[in-house]
Protein backbone atom coordinates (compact mmCIF):
# COMPACT_ATOMS: atom_id res chain seq x y z
CA UNK A 1 0.00 0.00 0.00
CA UNK A 2 1.26 3.51 -0.75
CA UNK A 3 2.09 5.87 2.09
CA UNK A 4 -0.67 8.43 2.62
CA UNK A 5 1.95 11.17 2.13
CA UNK A 6 1.98 10.41 -1.59
CA UNK A 7 -1.78 10.84 -1.88
CA UNK A 8 -1.67 13.96 0.28
CA UNK A 9 1.08 15.52 -1.83
CA UNK A 10 -0.70 14.61 -5.07
CA UNK A 11 -3.92 16.15 -3.83
CA UNK A 12 -2.08 19.30 -2.68
CA UNK A 13 -0.38 19.72 -6.06
CA UNK A 14 -3.61 19.11 -8.01
CA UNK A 15 -5.60 21.60 -5.94
CA UNK A 16 -2.81 24.19 -6.03
CA UNK A 17 -2.71 24.03 -9.83
CA UNK A 18 -6.51 24.33 -9.92
CA UNK A 19 -6.39 27.34 -7.55
CA UNK A 20 -3.85 29.15 -9.71
CA UNK A 21 -5.90 28.42 -12.85
CA UNK A 22 -9.19 29.68 -11.39
CA UNK A 23 -7.54 32.83 -9.97
CA UNK A 24 -5.96 33.57 -13.36
CA UNK A 25 -9.27 32.85 -15.10
CA UNK A 26 -11.16 35.36 -12.95
CA UNK A 27 -8.35 37.93 -13.35
CA UNK A 28 -8.40 37.47 -17.14
CA UNK A 29 -12.19 37.61 -17.18
CA UNK A 30 -12.21 40.79 -15.09
CA UNK A 31 -9.78 42.40 -17.52
CA UNK A 32 -11.58 41.27 -20.69
CA UNK A 33 -15.09 42.34 -19.71
CA UNK A 34 -13.93 45.94 -19.41
CA UNK A 35 -12.73 45.88 -23.02
CA UNK A 36 -14.77 46.34 -26.15
CA UNK A 37 -15.21 43.16 -28.10
CA UNK A 38 -17.65 40.59 -29.33
CA UNK A 39 -20.21 40.16 -26.58
CA UNK A 40 -21.39 36.76 -27.71
CA UNK A 41 -23.61 34.53 -25.62
CA UNK A 42 -22.61 30.93 -25.02
CA UNK A 43 -24.51 28.57 -27.33
CA UNK A 44 -26.99 26.20 -25.69
CA UNK A 45 -25.05 23.23 -27.02
CA UNK A 46 -21.90 24.39 -25.26
CA UNK A 47 -23.83 25.05 -22.08
CA UNK A 48 -25.22 21.50 -22.19
CA UNK A 49 -21.69 20.20 -22.67
CA UNK A 50 -20.65 22.15 -19.58
CA UNK A 51 -23.44 20.58 -17.51
CA UNK A 52 -22.40 17.10 -18.66
CA UNK A 53 -18.75 17.90 -17.92
CA UNK A 54 -19.59 18.99 -14.37
CA UNK A 55 -21.64 15.83 -13.75
CA UNK A 56 -18.87 13.59 -15.11
CA UNK A 57 -16.25 15.48 -13.09
CA UNK A 58 -18.21 15.30 -9.84
CA UNK A 59 -18.97 11.60 -10.14
CA UNK A 60 -15.68 10.45 -11.66
CA UNK A 61 -13.64 12.13 -8.91
CA UNK A 62 -15.03 9.74 -6.31
CA UNK A 63 -15.00 6.70 -8.57
CA UNK A 64 -11.34 7.40 -9.38
CA UNK A 65 -10.28 7.88 -5.77
CA UNK A 66 -12.31 4.90 -4.54
CA UNK A 67 -10.60 2.68 -7.13
CA UNK A 68 -7.07 4.05 -6.77
CA UNK A 69 -6.59 5.00 -3.12
CA UNK A 70 -5.74 1.63 -1.55
CA UNK A 71 -7.17 2.16 1.93
CA UNK A 72 -10.68 2.75 0.58
CA UNK A 73 -11.25 -0.86 -0.46
CA UNK A 74 -9.69 -2.07 2.80
CA UNK A 75 -11.97 0.24 4.75
CA UNK A 76 -15.17 -0.67 2.91
CA UNK A 77 -14.41 -4.41 3.09
CA UNK A 78 -12.86 -4.53 6.55
CA UNK A 79 -15.55 -6.90 7.89
CA UNK A 80 -14.33 -9.52 5.41
CA UNK A 81 -10.60 -9.03 5.96
CA UNK A 82 -8.71 -10.82 8.71
CA UNK A 83 -6.14 -8.42 10.15
CA UNK A 84 -2.60 -9.53 10.98
CA UNK A 85 -2.85 -7.70 14.27
CA UNK A 86 -5.63 -6.24 16.38
CA UNK A 87 -4.91 -3.43 18.83
CA UNK A 88 -7.70 -2.73 21.32
CA UNK A 89 -7.65 0.76 22.74
CA UNK A 90 -10.12 2.38 25.08
CA UNK A 91 -10.57 6.06 25.83
CA UNK A 92 -12.04 7.52 29.00
CA UNK A 93 -11.73 10.78 30.88
CA UNK A 94 -9.55 12.24 28.08
CA UNK A 95 -6.99 9.44 28.29
CA UNK A 96 -6.04 6.70 25.84
CA UNK A 97 -5.62 3.32 27.52
CA UNK A 98 -3.33 1.12 25.42
CA UNK A 99 -2.88 -2.66 25.75
CA UNK A 100 0.85 -2.08 26.21
CA UNK A 101 3.02 0.92 27.01
CA UNK A 102 4.51 0.87 23.49
CA UNK A 103 2.82 -0.54 20.42
CA UNK A 104 4.69 -2.29 17.63
CA UNK A 105 3.46 -3.39 14.21
CA UNK A 106 5.20 -4.53 11.04
CA UNK A 107 5.20 -2.58 7.81
CA UNK A 108 3.11 -4.30 5.14
CA UNK A 109 0.88 -6.06 7.65
CA UNK A 110 -2.75 -5.15 8.14
CA UNK A 111 -3.45 -3.81 11.59
CA UNK A 112 -6.88 -3.13 13.08
CA UNK A 113 -7.20 -0.36 15.65
CA UNK A 114 -10.35 -1.09 17.65
CA UNK A 115 -11.06 1.95 19.79
CA UNK A 116 -13.92 2.38 22.24
CA UNK A 117 -14.96 5.47 24.16
CA UNK A 118 -16.33 5.23 27.67
CA UNK A 119 -17.68 8.77 27.82
CA UNK A 120 -17.30 11.43 25.10
CA UNK A 121 -16.80 11.63 21.34
CA UNK A 122 -13.05 11.65 20.64
CA UNK A 123 -10.82 11.20 17.63
CA UNK A 124 -8.06 8.72 16.94
CA UNK A 125 -5.22 9.78 14.66
CA UNK A 126 -1.76 8.43 13.84
CA UNK A 127 0.88 11.08 13.16
CA UNK A 128 4.37 11.09 11.69
CA UNK A 129 7.41 12.66 13.36
CA UNK A 130 7.00 15.79 11.24
CA UNK A 131 3.47 16.31 12.60
CA UNK A 132 1.64 15.28 9.41
CA UNK A 133 -1.26 12.85 9.77
CA UNK A 134 -1.16 9.28 8.48
CA UNK A 135 -4.83 8.47 9.07
CA UNK A 136 -7.65 9.13 11.52
CA UNK A 137 -11.17 8.20 12.55
CA UNK A 138 -13.82 9.43 14.94
CA UNK A 139 -14.31 7.61 18.26
CA UNK A 140 -18.00 7.68 19.13
CA UNK A 141 -19.25 6.31 22.48
CA UNK A 142 -21.62 3.36 22.29
CA UNK A 143 -20.39 2.26 18.86
CA UNK A 144 -17.57 0.22 17.37
CA UNK A 145 -14.78 2.38 15.97
CA UNK A 146 -12.44 0.21 13.93
CA UNK A 147 -9.76 1.53 11.62
CA UNK A 148 -7.93 -0.97 9.43
CA UNK A 149 -4.59 0.23 8.11
CA UNK A 150 -1.49 -1.05 6.38
CA UNK A 151 1.64 0.92 7.25
CA UNK A 152 4.05 1.35 4.37
CA UNK A 153 6.91 3.22 6.03
CA UNK A 154 8.80 1.97 9.10
CA UNK A 155 9.28 4.58 11.80
CA UNK A 156 8.04 6.00 15.07
CA UNK A 157 4.52 7.42 15.17
CA UNK A 158 2.42 9.43 17.61
CA UNK A 159 -1.22 8.86 18.55
CA UNK A 160 -3.45 11.80 19.36
CA UNK A 161 -7.11 12.67 19.48
CA UNK A 162 -8.29 14.40 16.32
CA UNK A 163 -11.69 15.48 17.62
CA UNK A 164 -12.53 18.27 20.03
CA UNK A 165 -13.73 16.87 23.34
CA UNK A 166 -13.65 20.00 25.47
CA UNK A 167 -10.68 22.06 26.73
CA UNK A 168 -9.01 18.91 28.11
CA UNK A 169 -8.95 17.32 24.68
CA UNK A 170 -5.87 19.04 23.31
CA UNK A 171 -3.72 17.21 25.85
CA UNK A 172 -4.63 13.80 24.42
CA UNK A 173 -1.26 13.05 22.83
CA UNK A 174 0.80 9.88 23.18
CA UNK A 175 4.12 10.83 21.57
CA UNK A 176 6.25 8.17 19.85
CA UNK A 177 4.06 5.38 21.15
CA UNK A 178 3.75 3.36 17.95
CA UNK A 179 6.71 1.76 16.22
CA UNK A 180 6.43 0.35 12.72
CA UNK A 181 9.24 -2.08 12.00
CA UNK A 182 10.54 -3.62 8.75
Amino acid sequence: MVDSTIVLNGQTIAYSIYAVVIILLIAWFGYKITKTGKAGVLKTRLFTALVIFLIVLGVSLHITTNLTIPWVSIDLNRDNITPDEVINISVANHKFILPEEKLSVKAGEIVLFDVTSEDLTYGFGVFRQNGSMVCQMQVVPGHRNDLMWEFETPGIYTIRSTEYSGPKGHQMILPDVLEVTE
Partner: protein, 450 residues
Protein backbone atom coordinates in the same frame (compact mmCIF):
# COMPACT_ATOMS: atom_id res chain seq x y z
CA UNK B 1 -14.63 66.49 7.46
CA UNK B 2 -13.09 64.51 10.27
CA UNK B 3 -13.27 60.71 10.26
CA UNK B 4 -15.77 60.86 13.14
CA UNK B 5 -18.03 63.29 11.28
CA UNK B 6 -17.90 61.12 8.16
CA UNK B 7 -18.73 58.05 10.25
CA UNK B 8 -21.77 59.73 11.79
CA UNK B 9 -23.00 61.91 8.92
CA UNK B 10 -21.77 59.97 5.90
CA UNK B 11 -19.55 61.12 3.05
CA UNK B 12 -19.92 64.90 2.57
CA UNK B 13 -22.72 64.81 5.15
CA UNK B 14 -25.08 63.02 2.75
CA UNK B 15 -26.48 60.61 5.35
CA UNK B 16 -29.85 62.03 6.46
CA UNK B 17 -31.38 59.59 8.95
CA UNK B 18 -34.51 61.69 9.39
CA UNK B 19 -35.38 61.21 5.74
CA UNK B 20 -35.17 57.41 5.83
CA UNK B 21 -38.30 55.32 5.54
CA UNK B 22 -39.05 52.69 8.24
CA UNK B 23 -38.00 50.01 5.72
CA UNK B 24 -34.65 51.68 5.08
CA UNK B 25 -34.04 52.15 8.78
CA UNK B 26 -34.77 48.49 9.44
CA UNK B 27 -32.50 47.29 6.62
CA UNK B 28 -29.68 49.58 7.77
CA UNK B 29 -29.95 48.33 11.36
CA UNK B 30 -29.50 44.76 10.16
CA UNK B 31 -26.54 45.56 7.92
CA UNK B 32 -24.68 47.91 10.30
CA UNK B 33 -24.90 45.56 13.28
CA UNK B 34 -24.09 42.61 10.98
CA UNK B 35 -20.89 44.37 9.91
CA UNK B 36 -20.03 45.14 13.55
CA UNK B 37 -20.39 41.45 14.43
CA UNK B 38 -18.22 40.66 11.42
CA UNK B 39 -15.53 42.89 12.95
CA UNK B 40 -15.85 41.04 16.26
CA UNK B 41 -15.52 37.71 14.47
CA UNK B 42 -12.43 38.90 12.60
CA UNK B 43 -10.78 40.10 15.84
CA UNK B 44 -11.59 36.76 17.52
CA UNK B 45 -10.03 34.90 14.61
CA UNK B 46 -6.83 36.94 14.84
CA UNK B 47 -6.65 36.47 18.64
CA UNK B 48 -6.94 32.70 18.20
CA UNK B 49 -4.21 32.65 15.56
CA UNK B 50 -1.89 34.69 17.77
CA UNK B 51 -2.60 32.39 20.72
CA UNK B 52 -1.73 29.34 18.67
CA UNK B 53 1.63 30.83 17.73
CA UNK B 54 2.39 31.98 21.28
CA UNK B 55 0.04 31.83 24.30
CA UNK B 56 -1.20 35.28 25.28
CA UNK B 57 -0.71 36.40 28.90
CA UNK B 58 -3.94 36.34 30.90
CA UNK B 59 -5.69 34.03 28.46
CA UNK B 60 -5.90 30.34 29.33
CA UNK B 61 -6.93 27.41 27.15
CA UNK B 62 -10.50 27.49 28.53
CA UNK B 63 -10.91 31.04 27.29
CA UNK B 64 -9.34 30.08 23.96
CA UNK B 65 -11.88 27.32 23.41
CA UNK B 66 -14.73 29.61 24.53
CA UNK B 67 -13.68 32.02 21.76
CA UNK B 68 -13.43 29.13 19.32
CA UNK B 69 -17.01 28.12 20.17
CA UNK B 70 -18.47 31.61 19.90
CA UNK B 71 -16.44 32.61 16.82
CA UNK B 72 -18.31 30.65 14.11
CA UNK B 73 -21.68 31.27 15.76
CA UNK B 74 -21.15 35.04 15.90
CA UNK B 75 -19.96 34.87 12.28
CA UNK B 76 -22.97 32.85 11.08
CA UNK B 77 -25.81 34.28 13.16
CA UNK B 78 -24.56 37.69 14.30
CA UNK B 79 -22.93 38.71 11.05
CA UNK B 80 -24.12 36.66 8.06
CA UNK B 81 -27.72 36.11 9.19
CA UNK B 82 -28.23 39.77 10.11
CA UNK B 83 -26.73 41.11 6.88
CA UNK B 84 -28.56 38.62 4.66
CA UNK B 85 -31.90 38.91 6.48
CA UNK B 86 -31.77 42.72 6.39
CA UNK B 87 -31.05 42.72 2.67
CA UNK B 88 -33.78 40.17 1.88
CA UNK B 89 -36.45 41.77 4.08
CA UNK B 90 -35.84 44.86 1.94
CA UNK B 91 -35.38 43.14 -1.39
CA UNK B 92 -38.35 40.74 -1.48
CA UNK B 93 -41.10 43.37 -1.02
CA UNK B 94 -39.22 45.73 -3.35
CA UNK B 95 -39.03 43.19 -6.17
CA UNK B 96 -42.63 42.11 -5.60
CA UNK B 97 -43.80 45.75 -5.60
CA UNK B 98 -45.73 45.46 -2.35
CA UNK B 99 -44.98 46.37 1.27
CA UNK B 100 -43.22 44.02 3.66
CA UNK B 101 -45.84 41.98 5.51
CA UNK B 102 -44.68 43.37 8.87
CA UNK B 103 -41.92 45.90 9.52
CA UNK B 104 -42.57 45.39 13.23
CA UNK B 105 -41.81 41.68 12.92
CA UNK B 106 -38.70 42.54 10.89
CA UNK B 107 -37.48 44.81 13.68
CA UNK B 108 -38.17 42.05 16.20
CA UNK B 109 -36.04 39.69 14.11
CA UNK B 110 -33.23 42.23 14.32
CA UNK B 111 -33.61 42.72 18.09
CA UNK B 112 -33.81 39.01 18.89
CA UNK B 113 -30.88 37.94 16.69
CA UNK B 114 -28.70 40.78 18.03
CA UNK B 115 -29.67 40.17 21.66
CA UNK B 116 -29.37 36.38 21.31
CA UNK B 117 -25.90 36.68 19.78
CA UNK B 118 -24.74 38.98 22.56
CA UNK B 119 -26.21 36.60 25.14
CA UNK B 120 -24.36 33.50 23.98
CA UNK B 121 -21.20 35.53 23.36
CA UNK B 122 -21.19 36.94 26.90
CA UNK B 123 -22.02 33.55 28.37
CA UNK B 124 -19.02 32.03 26.59
CA UNK B 125 -16.80 34.95 27.60
CA UNK B 126 -17.73 34.80 31.29
CA UNK B 127 -18.39 31.10 31.97
CA UNK B 128 -16.17 29.56 29.24
CA UNK B 129 -18.90 27.23 28.04
CA UNK B 130 -17.16 25.70 25.04
CA UNK B 131 -18.54 22.55 23.43
CA UNK B 132 -17.60 23.93 19.99
CA UNK B 133 -20.24 24.53 17.33
CA UNK B 134 -20.39 20.81 16.52
CA UNK B 135 -21.83 20.10 20.01
CA UNK B 136 -20.98 16.38 19.71
CA UNK B 137 -23.02 14.42 22.19
CA UNK B 138 -22.56 14.09 25.16
CA UNK B 139 -20.00 16.93 25.22
CA UNK B 140 -22.50 19.79 25.54
CA UNK B 141 -23.88 18.11 28.65
CA UNK B 142 -20.46 17.25 30.15
CA UNK B 143 -20.62 19.12 33.44
CA UNK B 144 -17.19 17.95 34.56
CA UNK B 145 -15.80 20.50 32.07
CA UNK B 146 -18.59 23.07 31.85
CA UNK B 147 -20.83 24.98 34.23
CA UNK B 148 -24.49 24.04 33.53
CA UNK B 149 -25.68 27.58 34.36
CA UNK B 150 -23.27 29.06 31.79
CA UNK B 151 -24.34 26.42 29.30
CA UNK B 152 -28.03 27.12 29.91
CA UNK B 153 -27.53 30.85 29.27
CA UNK B 154 -25.50 30.04 26.15
CA UNK B 155 -28.24 27.78 24.79
CA UNK B 156 -30.87 30.37 25.71
CA UNK B 157 -28.96 32.89 23.55
CA UNK B 158 -29.00 30.48 20.61
CA UNK B 159 -32.73 29.87 21.16
CA UNK B 160 -33.41 33.63 21.06
CA UNK B 161 -31.54 33.83 17.75
CA UNK B 162 -33.68 30.99 16.41
CA UNK B 163 -36.91 32.77 17.42
CA UNK B 164 -35.68 35.85 15.53
CA UNK B 165 -34.87 33.59 12.58
CA UNK B 166 -38.35 32.04 12.57
CA UNK B 167 -39.83 35.57 12.61
CA UNK B 168 -37.76 36.30 9.49
CA UNK B 169 -39.06 33.13 7.81
CA UNK B 170 -42.68 34.03 8.60
CA UNK B 171 -42.17 37.56 7.30
CA UNK B 172 -40.63 36.40 4.02
CA UNK B 173 -43.27 33.76 3.26
CA UNK B 174 -46.11 36.03 4.33
CA UNK B 175 -44.75 38.83 2.13
CA UNK B 176 -44.61 36.47 -0.86
CA UNK B 177 -48.08 35.06 -0.24
CA UNK B 178 -50.26 37.94 0.90
CA UNK B 179 -52.21 40.36 -1.27
CA UNK B 180 -52.09 43.97 -0.06
CA UNK B 181 -55.25 46.01 0.10
CA UNK B 182 -56.21 47.46 -3.25
CA UNK B 183 -54.17 44.88 -5.23
CA UNK B 184 -55.63 42.21 -7.46
CA UNK B 185 -56.14 38.99 -5.46
CA UNK B 186 -53.48 36.35 -6.15
CA UNK B 187 -53.48 32.85 -4.65
CA UNK B 188 -50.96 32.79 -1.81
CA UNK B 189 -50.50 29.05 -2.24
CA UNK B 190 -49.66 29.50 -5.93
CA UNK B 191 -47.19 32.25 -5.10
CA UNK B 192 -45.45 30.07 -2.51
CA UNK B 193 -45.42 27.07 -4.85
CA UNK B 194 -43.80 29.14 -7.56
CA UNK B 195 -41.32 30.70 -5.13
CA UNK B 196 -40.21 27.49 -3.47
CA UNK B 197 -40.06 25.53 -6.72
CA UNK B 198 -42.88 23.08 -6.24
CA UNK B 199 -44.41 24.26 -9.48
CA UNK B 200 -41.14 23.90 -11.36
CA UNK B 201 -42.54 21.17 -13.60
CA UNK B 202 -44.81 23.76 -15.11
CA UNK B 203 -41.97 25.57 -16.74
CA UNK B 204 -39.55 22.74 -17.48
CA UNK B 205 -41.43 19.82 -18.98
CA UNK B 206 -44.41 21.52 -20.57
CA UNK B 207 -44.32 22.55 -24.17
CA UNK B 208 -43.15 26.09 -24.60
CA UNK B 209 -46.57 27.25 -25.79
CA UNK B 210 -48.30 25.74 -22.74
CA UNK B 211 -45.83 26.87 -20.11
CA UNK B 212 -47.18 29.12 -17.39
CA UNK B 213 -45.23 32.15 -16.35
CA UNK B 214 -43.43 32.09 -13.04
CA UNK B 215 -45.26 34.14 -10.46
CA UNK B 216 -42.13 35.46 -8.77
CA UNK B 217 -38.79 36.69 -10.11
CA UNK B 218 -35.67 34.53 -9.90
CA UNK B 219 -34.05 36.43 -6.97
CA UNK B 220 -37.28 36.09 -4.95
CA UNK B 221 -37.37 32.37 -5.79
CA UNK B 222 -33.79 32.07 -4.50
CA UNK B 223 -34.69 33.84 -1.26
CA UNK B 224 -37.75 31.62 -0.79
CA UNK B 225 -35.84 28.38 -1.43
CA UNK B 226 -33.02 29.40 0.91
CA UNK B 227 -35.62 30.35 3.49
CA UNK B 228 -37.02 26.80 3.42
CA UNK B 229 -33.60 25.58 4.61
CA UNK B 230 -33.44 28.44 7.12
CA UNK B 231 -36.72 27.21 8.62
CA UNK B 232 -35.65 23.56 8.76
CA UNK B 233 -32.32 24.53 10.31
CA UNK B 234 -34.01 26.70 12.93
CA UNK B 235 -36.24 23.74 13.85
CA UNK B 236 -33.28 21.37 14.26
CA UNK B 237 -31.15 23.83 16.25
CA UNK B 238 -34.09 24.75 18.50
CA UNK B 239 -34.92 21.09 19.19
CA UNK B 240 -31.26 20.34 19.89
CA UNK B 241 -31.06 23.33 22.23
CA UNK B 242 -34.13 22.15 24.15
CA UNK B 243 -32.61 18.66 24.42
CA UNK B 244 -29.36 20.03 25.86
CA UNK B 245 -31.26 22.43 28.09
CA UNK B 246 -33.16 19.52 29.69
CA UNK B 247 -29.84 18.03 30.84
CA UNK B 248 -28.57 21.41 32.04
CA UNK B 249 -31.68 22.33 33.99
CA UNK B 250 -31.63 18.87 35.59
CA UNK B 251 -27.97 19.37 36.58
CA UNK B 252 -28.73 22.83 38.01
CA UNK B 253 -31.40 21.27 40.23
CA UNK B 254 -29.06 18.47 41.28
CA UNK B 255 -30.34 15.65 39.09
CA UNK B 256 -27.86 13.68 37.02
CA UNK B 257 -29.52 12.41 33.86
CA UNK B 258 -27.80 9.52 32.13
CA UNK B 259 -25.75 11.15 29.40
CA UNK B 260 -25.78 7.94 27.37
CA UNK B 261 -29.56 8.15 26.98
CA UNK B 262 -28.99 9.77 23.57
CA UNK B 263 -27.21 7.70 20.94
CA UNK B 264 -24.09 9.68 20.01
CA UNK B 265 -24.07 8.61 16.35
CA UNK B 266 -27.80 9.15 15.85
CA UNK B 267 -27.43 12.59 17.44
CA UNK B 268 -24.48 13.33 15.17
CA UNK B 269 -26.53 12.43 12.09
CA UNK B 270 -29.44 14.50 13.32
CA UNK B 271 -27.25 17.50 14.15
CA UNK B 272 -25.28 17.47 10.89
CA UNK B 273 -28.45 17.06 8.85
CA UNK B 274 -29.68 20.29 10.39
CA UNK B 275 -26.41 22.21 10.48
CA UNK B 276 -25.62 21.36 6.88
CA UNK B 277 -28.79 23.13 5.83
CA UNK B 278 -26.79 26.31 6.45
CA UNK B 279 -23.43 25.50 4.90
CA UNK B 280 -24.66 23.32 2.03
CA UNK B 281 -28.13 24.76 1.72
CA UNK B 282 -29.21 28.27 2.42
CA UNK B 283 -25.76 29.83 1.98
CA UNK B 284 -25.31 28.36 -1.50
CA UNK B 285 -28.88 29.15 -2.53
CA UNK B 286 -28.86 32.70 -1.16
CA UNK B 287 -25.46 33.35 -2.73
CA UNK B 288 -26.50 32.01 -6.14
CA UNK B 289 -29.66 34.11 -6.02
CA UNK B 290 -27.66 37.20 -5.07
CA UNK B 291 -25.21 36.55 -7.92
CA UNK B 292 -28.12 36.37 -10.38
CA UNK B 293 -29.58 39.62 -9.06
CA UNK B 294 -26.21 41.40 -9.15
CA UNK B 295 -25.44 40.15 -12.66
CA UNK B 296 -28.72 41.62 -13.88
CA UNK B 297 -28.22 44.89 -12.01
CA UNK B 298 -24.66 45.33 -13.27
CA UNK B 299 -25.39 44.43 -16.89
CA UNK B 300 -28.99 45.63 -17.21
CA UNK B 301 -29.65 42.42 -19.14
CA UNK B 302 -31.72 39.30 -18.58
CA UNK B 303 -29.98 36.39 -16.97
CA UNK B 304 -28.53 33.78 -19.30
CA UNK B 305 -30.34 30.45 -18.99
CA UNK B 306 -32.69 31.84 -16.37
CA UNK B 307 -34.96 28.79 -16.45
CA UNK B 308 -32.03 26.46 -15.83
CA UNK B 309 -30.81 28.75 -13.05
CA UNK B 310 -34.24 28.52 -11.41
CA UNK B 311 -34.20 24.72 -11.69
CA UNK B 312 -30.64 24.56 -10.30
CA UNK B 313 -31.80 26.46 -7.21
CA UNK B 314 -34.51 23.86 -6.66
CA UNK B 315 -32.04 21.01 -7.18
CA UNK B 316 -29.70 22.69 -4.69
CA UNK B 317 -32.53 22.81 -2.15
CA UNK B 318 -33.24 19.08 -2.50
CA UNK B 319 -29.52 18.24 -2.53
CA UNK B 320 -29.04 20.20 0.69
CA UNK B 321 -31.43 17.77 2.45
CA UNK B 322 -29.41 14.73 1.45
CA UNK B 323 -25.70 15.55 1.78
CA UNK B 324 -25.14 15.56 5.55
CA UNK B 325 -23.25 12.25 5.60
CA UNK B 326 -20.09 13.84 4.17
CA UNK B 327 -19.53 15.04 7.75
CA UNK B 328 -19.53 11.44 8.97
CA UNK B 329 -17.09 9.82 6.56
CA UNK B 330 -14.65 9.28 9.45
CA UNK B 331 -17.32 7.62 11.61
CA UNK B 332 -16.77 3.91 11.19
CA UNK B 333 -20.20 2.99 12.52
CA UNK B 334 -21.91 5.10 9.89
CA UNK B 335 -23.39 2.78 7.21
CA UNK B 336 -21.14 2.59 4.13
CA UNK B 337 -24.10 3.14 1.80
CA UNK B 338 -24.79 6.51 3.43
CA UNK B 339 -21.12 7.46 3.15
CA UNK B 340 -21.01 6.64 -0.56
CA UNK B 341 -24.43 7.89 -1.70
CA UNK B 342 -25.00 10.89 0.58
CA UNK B 343 -21.42 11.65 1.59
CA UNK B 344 -19.81 11.38 -1.83
CA UNK B 345 -22.11 11.29 -4.84
CA UNK B 346 -25.00 13.50 -3.79
CA UNK B 347 -22.53 15.97 -2.32
CA UNK B 348 -20.83 16.12 -5.73
CA UNK B 349 -24.03 17.66 -7.07
CA UNK B 350 -23.04 20.85 -5.29
CA UNK B 351 -20.16 21.08 -7.73
CA UNK B 352 -22.74 20.91 -10.52
CA UNK B 353 -25.31 23.37 -9.13
CA UNK B 354 -22.73 25.88 -7.95
CA UNK B 355 -20.73 25.42 -11.15
CA UNK B 356 -23.84 26.22 -13.17
CA UNK B 357 -24.51 29.36 -11.14
CA UNK B 358 -20.86 30.36 -11.60
CA UNK B 359 -20.98 30.02 -15.40
CA UNK B 360 -24.45 31.51 -15.82
CA UNK B 361 -23.26 34.67 -14.06
CA UNK B 362 -20.01 34.81 -16.05
CA UNK B 363 -21.84 34.41 -19.37
CA UNK B 364 -24.39 37.07 -18.38
CA UNK B 365 -21.58 39.50 -17.54
CA UNK B 366 -19.71 38.63 -20.75
CA UNK B 367 -22.78 39.33 -22.84
CA UNK B 368 -22.76 42.96 -21.70
CA UNK B 369 -19.10 43.82 -22.28
CA UNK B 370 -17.58 46.33 -22.09
CA UNK B 371 -18.47 46.87 -18.45
CA UNK B 372 -17.07 49.47 -16.11
CA UNK B 373 -15.09 47.88 -13.27
CA UNK B 374 -17.26 49.29 -10.49
CA UNK B 375 -17.04 48.28 -6.86
CA UNK B 376 -20.08 45.96 -7.07
CA UNK B 377 -18.51 44.20 -10.06
CA UNK B 378 -15.16 43.84 -8.30
CA UNK B 379 -16.79 42.32 -5.23
CA UNK B 380 -19.02 40.10 -7.36
CA UNK B 381 -15.95 38.67 -9.14
CA UNK B 382 -14.31 38.21 -5.73
CA UNK B 383 -17.39 36.36 -4.50
CA UNK B 384 -17.40 34.10 -7.56
CA UNK B 385 -13.71 33.35 -7.07
CA UNK B 386 -14.27 32.55 -3.38
CA UNK B 387 -16.82 29.86 -4.16
CA UNK B 388 -14.81 28.75 -7.21
CA UNK B 389 -12.03 27.91 -4.78
CA UNK B 390 -14.02 26.73 -1.78
CA UNK B 391 -16.60 24.39 -3.34
CA UNK B 392 -14.05 22.07 -5.02
CA UNK B 393 -12.04 22.07 -1.76
CA UNK B 394 -15.14 20.78 0.01
CA UNK B 395 -15.83 18.16 -2.66
CA UNK B 396 -12.25 16.89 -2.24
CA UNK B 397 -12.82 16.53 1.50
CA UNK B 398 -16.15 14.78 0.89
CA UNK B 399 -14.37 11.70 -0.42
CA UNK B 400 -13.91 8.50 1.58
CA UNK B 401 -10.25 8.10 0.61
CA UNK B 402 -9.16 11.71 1.06
CA UNK B 403 -11.27 12.27 4.18
CA UNK B 404 -9.15 9.66 5.97
CA UNK B 405 -6.10 11.93 5.69
CA UNK B 406 -7.79 15.36 5.71
CA UNK B 407 -10.59 15.24 8.29
CA UNK B 408 -10.17 17.72 11.13
CA UNK B 409 -7.10 19.29 9.58
CA UNK B 410 -6.51 22.86 8.45
CA UNK B 411 -7.61 21.77 4.98
CA UNK B 412 -11.30 22.01 5.68
CA UNK B 413 -11.27 25.06 7.93
CA UNK B 414 -8.86 26.96 5.66
CA UNK B 415 -9.38 26.39 1.92
CA UNK B 416 -13.05 25.38 2.36
CA UNK B 417 -14.78 27.15 5.26
CA UNK B 418 -12.88 30.41 5.53
CA UNK B 419 -12.42 30.90 1.80
CA UNK B 420 -16.15 30.26 1.29
CA UNK B 421 -17.14 32.75 3.99
CA UNK B 422 -14.42 35.41 3.90
CA UNK B 423 -13.90 35.51 0.16
CA UNK B 424 -17.09 34.05 -1.31
CA UNK B 425 -19.96 35.04 0.97
CA UNK B 426 -18.63 38.32 2.35
CA UNK B 427 -17.56 39.68 -1.03
CA UNK B 428 -20.96 38.75 -2.49
CA UNK B 429 -22.71 40.53 0.39
CA UNK B 430 -20.49 43.60 0.05
CA UNK B 431 -21.33 43.75 -3.63
CA UNK B 432 -25.03 43.70 -2.69
CA UNK B 433 -24.54 46.31 0.04
CA UNK B 434 -23.52 48.79 -2.67
CA UNK B 435 -27.14 48.66 -3.84
CA UNK B 436 -28.58 49.59 -0.45
CA UNK B 437 -30.08 52.72 -1.98
CA UNK B 438 -32.44 50.49 -3.95
CA UNK B 439 -35.49 52.52 -3.12
CA UNK B 440 -33.97 55.58 -4.79
CA UNK B 441 -33.01 53.76 -7.97
CA UNK B 442 -36.08 51.87 -9.13
CA UNK B 443 -34.89 52.06 -12.74
CA UNK B 444 -32.24 49.46 -11.87
CA UNK B 445 -34.89 46.90 -11.09
CA UNK B 446 -37.13 47.29 -14.09
CA UNK B 447 -35.72 44.21 -15.78
CA UNK B 448 -36.13 42.01 -12.72
CA UNK B 449 -39.89 42.08 -12.74
CA UNK B 450 -41.75 38.83 -13.35
Amino acid sequence: MTYKETLINGTKGLFKPDGLTPMQKMALRFVVVGVLFYGLTAIEGMIMRMYQIEPIAGMNSKHFFAIMTAHPLVGIFGSSYLTVFGAFLFLVPFLMKKPLWSIKLGNWSFILITFGTLTFWFSGFITHYAPLYTLYWPLPADFTQFNPVGGAIFILGIAIVMVGTIFFVINIFKTIAYTPEGHEKVSGRAMLASATGFSWKESIFRRKSKRRDNLVSLPVAAVARGTVDTLLNAGIITFTGVLILVYMVAAIFGYNLQDTAVDALLYKNWFWWGLDLIADGLVLIFVAGTWYLLAQLITGKDLYMARIARLALWVELVVSWTVWSHHLLADQAQPAILKIVSGEFVTAFELITQGLAFFIVLVTLWSARPLKMTNPLKFLLGGLLGFGLAVPAGIIQADIGLNRILHNTQWIIGPHVHVAILVGLVMTLYSAVYYLDWQFRPELFKRISV
